[in-house]
Amino acid sequence: MEICSSAEHLELRDLDPFLAELLRQIPESTKPEGVEAAERRLYSAPADSSEKEICAEWKLYVEPELRRLFQTAMETVNDDLAQLNGKAKPFANCTLRVPKAHGEAWLNTLNQARLVIATKFNFTDGELCDHYRSPIGSRRDLSLFQVNFYGFLQECILHEIEGTT
């Protein structure tokens, strides 16, 4: 995989089918799917539970706004990822062009996905710092690789955003 930057886009070139599949899985990975801890991490409490009024108001007014924000960001990413669908040669390497204007949506969605996966698998600090583990071993290893790959993409996008501001 090669990452290139033009005035308008960030291009992920020469994506092999494995990395392309991990990218396709980003939107699905943002869903807590009934894992309460993951849901709680995405929509964490704004204050200590003793602050009942603040927490109740938050649930009523703020949380729906956050859900809309996260959903909108995810849909933007999903639309960009449509480039990876319907390839004539399914096992050929491909390119994904991310508009720089979508950078914030990508950062947000990648973060949602990383938090949900990390919470579902309850990764330790040590595991999260292990960038050299092979993704082949187990579903857990694959998910750890996914978290780190998405983190790497976040770093690239951040670098681009900072370079343009």
Binding site: P46, I54, L69, L107, N108, N111, R114, A118, Q154, L158
Partner: protein, 113 residues
Amino acid sequence: MEVAPVIEFTANKFLVTSGPVDNPVIEREAETAQQVDLPWQVVVHNDPVNLMTYVTMVFQKVFGFTREKAEKHMMEVHQLGRSIVWSGLRERAELYVQQLHGYLLLATIERTG
């Protein structure tokens, strides 16, 4: 003898008292808007998943911190587990926490003291 209540305003609170001993003394403290609003702080908590560069960027965007100040708070979160990034009125503190949650940071508002 009926005596009009004396209302004193002292450091953020009203003291309402009646005068002479004929009437029972009623002493009451009423919370002022200032008391309700003043002492709140925004605290960001450590999270092993959020990238350090990302947290720094969020602090710069939300609070307008310089890169150095944002990095200082980020390191405080990383090393001490939490950092007080802002303090002031409750309404504003809630707004900041909402923005931080929009970036998926773990943030809460707390009463100071």
